[in-house]
Symmetry: C2
Subunit: 295 residues, 2 copies
């Protein structure tokens, strides 16, 4: 009794500190997570690691189908990371078909099993049908929110929604409009969110594991961060759908409609502990949706 009293007296009569974002994520119940479908997860294996990219067929169905077809056809096998631009993007490319070899790559003389067709401009989609959880804070570009484990930007007036160019988001490279790309050149954001790209390119997914080995690649020295010589490029060994790789890890993304995510989002905007002055706000790309390896 005396020691209990002493302990009580020694305890400051203040409320316990609010949990940190990482603590909220660690304590989130199983119901706060959704499975990442292995059929929509591409494992891009390079000489420095493997990038796991979750595709988002709800936002760019034709592009996602084209990318999956390229993966299954082996078109990314023997490709390369052709571009790393500081504070912008890393970009990788499939082997070209026919007699148009990539710089430093031999021509692909295999039968043309995949012939990309012009892809529609899946730069945004109707917001209708998406039960978007609002970010709850102003965003410089558009109304921010989340849906099914994805960050989402929305224009209510136009009734459109799209995946924003946050760190690690993946888009489909294309030449000048009206070219929309064919899914054979992909990029991932490696720096501050280049949101000016939103609605100008099809965003097709997000790197949910392995980006750090690839953002650490030496920057290319040519314009836009392209490598000058093929020797500088990092080889893309192969790409596979996780559903065809039984030994690949299974992942879960946080359910952005869950109470745990709401607490995480609020905590990101109101940091405590080290932070003597909480921002009381947070921008969309500063609330990365947590991902974990499924147990």
């Amino acid at each position: 009794m005396l020691s209990l009293l002493a302990a009580l007296l020694a305890t400051p009569a203040t409320a316990p500190p609010p949990p940190q974002p990482a603590e909220i994520v660690a304590a989130a119940p199983a119901s706060a997570w959704r499975r990442v479908d292995p059929a929509n997860l591409v494992l891009f294996e390079t000489t420095v690691g493997t990038m796991a990219v979750e595709l988002a067929p709800d936002f760019a169905p034709a592009h996602v189908a084209a990318i999956k077809a390229l993966v299954v056809a082996g078109r990314f096998d023997g490709g390369a990371i052709t571009r790393v631009q500081e504070n912008y993007v890393i970009q990788w490319a499939a082997r070209p078909e026919g007699d148009a070899p990539m710089v430093g790559q031999p021509p692909d003389t295999r039968p043309q099993r995949v012939r990309p067709r012009p892809l529609p401009p899946e730069f945004d989609r109707p917001a209708a049908g998406l039960a978007i959880t609002p970010l709850g804070y102003p965003d410089a570009y558009a109304e921010g929110g989340f849906w099914n484990g994805w960050p989402v930007a929305r224009d209510r007036g136009e009734g459109r929604a799209w995946l924003p160019h946050c760190h690690a988001m993946v888009g489909v490279g294309h030449d000048m409009p009206p070219d929309n790309g064919d899914g054979s050149e992909l990029y991932a954001v490696n720096g501050h969110a280049p949101r000016h790209l939103d609605r100008n390119i099809a965003v097709v997914g997000r790197v949910i594991a392995g980006i750090e080995a690839h953002t650490a690649l030496t920057r290319g020295t040519e314009a836009l961060g392209f490598y000058k010589t093929p020797e500088e490029q990092t080889k893309l060994v192969r790409a596979r759908l996780a559903s065809s790789v039984p030994e690949a890890p299974r992942y879960e993304a946080m359910d952005t409609a869950s109470p745990a995510f709401a607490a995480y989002r609020t905590a990101r905007a109101n940091r405590t502990g080290f932070f003597i002055r909480p921002a009381k706000a947070v921008d969309l790309c500063n609330v990365p949706v947590p991902v974990r390896v499924a147990e």
Copy 2:
């Protein structure tokens, strides 16, 4: 005459495309640039390159003075990059004084020429006295703007202004409050702007050259991106004030009150050419202030 007529007829009767941001920067007159004072430019020389950090004495005078004293005393010579965390910061440290060696570093047995004193919390400053050029677009965190070649955030109600945590901005590491650090541990933002750090740390400057070799360093595998072993760290060979290095390049930052900068800022928010749908907005950290080597 005939060929001129033919040329005129061949030219589409549309207005010329508006200039791209890079074109505006390239065409900016000499009056649109301000000199980077070599006495406020620190050259951190590592085994992978040199980071040139412009210090901002108008925002953190005591911290800047402390850092310059450490540089002049040679305290950064033999230091190391101790931390690289994906999408957050790279951090480097001076050699410790006395008998508190840095991990993997021998004790510094030289006379203690610099004894850091507690530094004031220079996390923001009065906005009065700064003729801030407004960003002109909403920002998620605070009113954005520019002053004398720096991005600046402001709270009009409180009359305070501060340097925001944009890509390449440099701050002073510190332990839990009320510790404010002593200037011997510095970090630079390597990813999406962690604006929640604003007003919680002294921001003292910006890497204006050489960041790309250091953001490309392998990420540390310990908590917060610290390296596990000293062998993984990148050596800090030495640090010098550019004013003491006659052969060092001289730099200029764009004068953010100039018409050229206003055009650049507007063009960043209203991209053309590749961009079929201009954002018509831009966030503060997506308008990096241009820097060039002086001729």
